[in-house]
């Protein structure tokens, strides 16, 4: 018998293994729609239908893709410096990254919002949040450049941002981390969280013409973690909804300690009421410190101003300002449907999706249908504000977008799928697997009053085997779905930059039509502009040397510079004299400790350079500008400290070989 054991064992093992491999689910990952290739093919020279703005997550930047092709059109430097454009390295842009903590050249960029008029995307600006050092940026969509960055005081982890009201009246911010307020003593034991830690949401006014941002007020709230938000629209215009978790107020091991309660909240903020209280002067001025940085396309220069005051409204002092709607299991996404009536909360750990009704909420508030309060905030009864629950939608619901046809699309992180459901009857209509673990998803115009629909993009957190391997680090992946029919159809995978979180998209025409081609040299008001080669020069003031340099195909003026000394602070003020589209020139100098400059036609940018050795330094144009690009170069002679070589500069005066060089005379 013993002799039989081994063969029998081997056989059972073999069958067992076979069984396991046989049970492995078939990879449905290639299940693209039959006509997918033709649906995403944008012929050479043809344009995409849609601009897709995608957050860069830990890259700190924003990327722009064309849909349906998934082609990368541009990376916009926002919160991280960018050596290829000189953003954050040039004297002009260094102030953009200034904060109350000094120069912060990196951030974690999570969410985006295109400006809206009447609840529809208008394509004027794109707002972007910085999660780590709380900031909001405004990107000008005529230049695709960061035009403004405002820091948020009394905040840590600006996550529920930069969502906007339906006419871009406000862009909001919210604290992911509750912390002691900036003007309170912050040197407290961490375990005094419940006593000393507070949350805030901030309303930043946006000037309807210039787009300039200014913090209008902050609302002081209980110490919880604010997660995501969306503005009311249509009938719910005037309200803002913020999801929050950690109502347990844990300060350690949150994955356990902040997951205890059955329900956390969606905080409904009546910002119209807040405006009234503000008018009555009932807000409290608080001393804070935050940076406000603005870039001017006239002077080609950013200025950073440190501001020192905000107005705070303590929500517990104004009983009709904020209401808490109970929402199951640590809600994440907080999304308002195109009609403005339904608010979808996505409890990350819930096995259902609650949908709240705005009209029921207002009725419950009128009827004072409260279930006590949470830290002084009235809590509405769950049943009184609930439109209904989507049962068994999938696992790990995160975010919901809408197609304007009464359908909602929710990303499921754990079950790795997109689920389409009907808002009216809360029935699941369709599911599409994603590869893998979708975080955010986006429908074109999907959080506006009038979604464009047609396409949905899922931004996945895990890539694994979707592309050729590139070592341990893989780019994240996005998946494009056609949602024009009853069933979602997978069309395309495309890799993305950084870690995309939320994204925005709108049809291309409006933005494309307003896209700037060149900066008008005649309107260049930079204090260091050089309006032509005749004005190009080098000036010394003490150990500061200003080089007024021009670039035009295919030379610098001047291109021979002498009289610079070791330790001089040299500022190259480089003006691109071209007035033709797509003719940037680059400026790079050997040994520069910062980066290059990439200067657009009609623009002036300044790079600081401190030479440390006495020798000849070459500089050259880095952007292949013309047939004679390789000839676009120059030399700088750096003499030792205390040398008496005078400042001199020239262009086009080739010395005769028989003439003795001036310096050796």
């Amino acid at each position: 018998m013993k002799r039989m054991i081994i063969p029998v064992l081997s056989l059972t093992t073999a069958i067992f293994l076979l069984g396991i491999t046989g049970c492995k689910p078939k990879n449905a990952g290639s299940a693209a729609a039959g006509d997918a290739a033709s649906r995403v093919y944008v012929a050479p020279g043809k344009y995409d239908e849609v601009y897709n703005f995608v957050s860069g997550g830990f890259s700190g930047q924003v990327t722009v893709y064309g849909l349906p092709s998934g082609r990368l059109l541009r990376t916009i430097p926002v919160f991280s410096n960018d050596p290829q454009t000189g953003y954050g390295y040039s004297e002009n842009t260094i102030p953009m990254l200034n904060t109350s903590h000094g120069f912060v050249p990196w951030d974690d960029q999570h969410h985006l919002e295109i400006s809206q008029t009447n609840g529809e995307t208008d394509g004027r600006w794109l707002f972007a949040n910085a999660n780590n050092t709380p900031r909001i940026a405004r990107i000008d969509l005529t230049t695709f450049r960061t035009a403004e960055i405002i820091e948020i005081p009394n905040s840590a982890g600006n996550h529920s941002s930069p969502f906007i009201t339906e006419n871009t009246e406000y862009v909001v911010a919210g604290t992911r981390f509750s912390v002691p307020m900036d003007n309170d003593n912050g040197d407290v034991p961490i375990d005094t969280y419940k006593k000393n830690f507070k949350g805030t949401v901030s309303f930043i006014k946006v000037d309807p013409n210039s787009g300039n941002m200014d913090i209008a007020f902050q609302i002081l709230l209980p110490g919880v973690n604010f997660d995501l938000s969306h503005a009311g629209k249509g009938p719910s215009h005037g309200w803002f909804f913020f999801s929050c978790y950690n109502s347990e107020q844990a300060h350690t091991l949150l994955e356990v300690n902040a997951s205890k309660r059955d329900k956390d909240f969606i905080m409904a903020v009546n910002w119209k009421k807040a405006e009234e209280y503000l008018k009555q002067g009932r807000g409290q001025k608080q001393k804070v410190k935050y940076a406000h940085n603005v870039y001017s396309d006239d002077t080609h220069q950013a200025t950073s101003t440190i501001k020192d005051e905000v107005i705070m409204l303590d929500a517990t002092q104004f009983p009709d300002l904020v209401y808490a709607m109970p929402c199951p299991k640590s809600p994440h996404g907080c999304d308002v449907d195109p009609t403005g009536e339904y608010i979808v909360g996505s409890g990350k750990l819930a096995a259902l999706i609650p949908v709240f009704s705005f009209s029921k909420m207002t009725k419950a508030i009128e009827a004072k249908d409260f279930d006590g309060d949470y830290e002084g905030i009235p809590v509405l009864k769950y049943e009184s504000v609930l439109h209904g629950e989507v049962q068994k939608p999938g696992l790990g619901p995160l975010h919901t977008e809408f197609d304007g046809k009464g359908n909602a699309y929710t990303s499921m992180f754990l079950s790795s799928e997109v689920v389409k459901w009907s808002i009216a009857d809360l029935k699941v209509l369709d599911r599409a697997p994603t590869f893998y673990s979708t975080g955010h998803l986006m429908v074109v115009g999907g959080d506006s009053k009038k979604p464009y629909g047609k396409y949905l993009v899922a931004y996945n957190k895990i890539t694994k085997d979707r592309y050729l391997p590139t070592g341990p680090e893989l780019n994240q992946t996005a998946q494009l779905f056609d949602i024009s029919g009853d069933k979602m159809k997978l069309l395309l995978d495309f890799p993305t930059a950084g870690e995309p979180h939320y994204a925005q998209a709108m049809p291309a025409e409006k933005i494309a039509a307003k896209s700037l081609k060149i900066y008008d040299l005649m309107k260049n008001k930079n204090p260091f502009v050089t309006m032509g080669e005749k004005e190009s020069r080098v000036e010394r003031k003490g150990n500061r040397v200003d080089v007024y340099l021009t670039m035009i195909r295919s030379h610098f003026s001047p291109d021979n510079i002498e009289g610079i000394k070791v330790g001089d602070e040299v500022y190259f003020h480089v003006t691109n004299l071209e007035q033709d589209w797509d003719l940037p020139h680059g400026f790079a100098i050997k040994g520069a400790n910062n980066a290059e400059l990439l200067v657009m036609p009609g623009e002036t940018q300044t790079l600081k350079w401190v030479p440390e050795v006495s020798t000849i330094f070459p500089f050259y144009c880095t952007d292949f500008c013309s047939a004679l690009h390789q000839e676009m170069q120059g030399y700088i002679r750096v003499s030792p400290k205390g040398s008496n070589v005078p400042i001199s500069f020239s262009l086009g005066k080739n010395s005769d070989a028989t003439v003795e060089p001036e310096a050796s005379k």
């Binding site: 195909r553 295919s554 007035q579 033709d580 589209w581 047939a627 000839e631």
Partner: protein, 196 residues
């Protein structure tokens, strides 16, 4: 006796030509379109009676590679004189109407024809000069290559395809000439009828 004067139709034609010439003063006479692989959108040079228009600066930026002189309105006496000459012919046409003599109409037409020919010769002359008077130190030198744009029509100049056509003003200018010719022809027809 009557035949010395302008007929009703002739008066209308002369009046029309006067109006056309007045319009010419304000619109471009000629255009040169330049296309290259790098310029799919094309570059345009427009010749007004009094100035150069269009993408002059961009064309000037490119010209230095082949050593062509840069184009500047103030370098051309034509842009000073041309508006006066055109205005003169418009005025002349009005005078013909007032004086009402067929003989004077003939003077107007033939002088206008002469001016047209001189203008085209002059245009060709400065195109030729620009295309051939090249800086000997230019970075790009193609042996035997000159860059005279076509007087009218199409020509390939290195990586550029050049098209030269009359613009609105040029068409009106030709048109005015044709209209005047029509008026002169009407006189001939009258004369013939008389002989018969």
């Amino acid at each position: 006796m009557k035949t010395k004067h302008l007929s009703g139709l002739q008066k209308i034609l002369v009046a029309v030509s006067a109006v056309m010439l007045v319009v010419v003063l304000f619109v471009p006479l000629w255009k040169i379109l330049l296309y290259a692989p790098q310029y799919p959108e094309g570059l345009t040079l427009k010749m007004y009676p009094h100035k150069l228009g269009g993408d002059v600066e961009i064309v000037n930026g490119l010209n230095h590679y082949i050593g062509m002189k840069t184009l500047h309105t103030e370098d051309f006496i034509e842009f000073t004189v041309l508006p006066y000459i055109i205005a003169f012919f418009a005025l002349f046409a009005i005078i013909v109407l007032l004086v009402n003599r067929r003989g004077l109409l003939n003077v107007l037409f033939y002088s206008f024809l002469l001016f047209g020919i001189v203008a085209m010769v002059d245009f060709y002359r400065w195109e030729y000069n620009y295309g051939n008077d090249l800086d000997p130190t230019a970075p790009i030198q193609v042996p035997g290559m000159s860059y005279t744009p076509p007087l009218i029509g199409y020509k390939e100049l290195l990586n550029f395809q050049a098209y030269s056509w009359p613009d609105v003003g040029g068409i009106l200018f030709f048109g005015a000439g044709l209209v005047l010719m029509g008026a002169v022809v009407l006189s001939w027809i009258d004369k013939r009828k008389k002989r018969i």
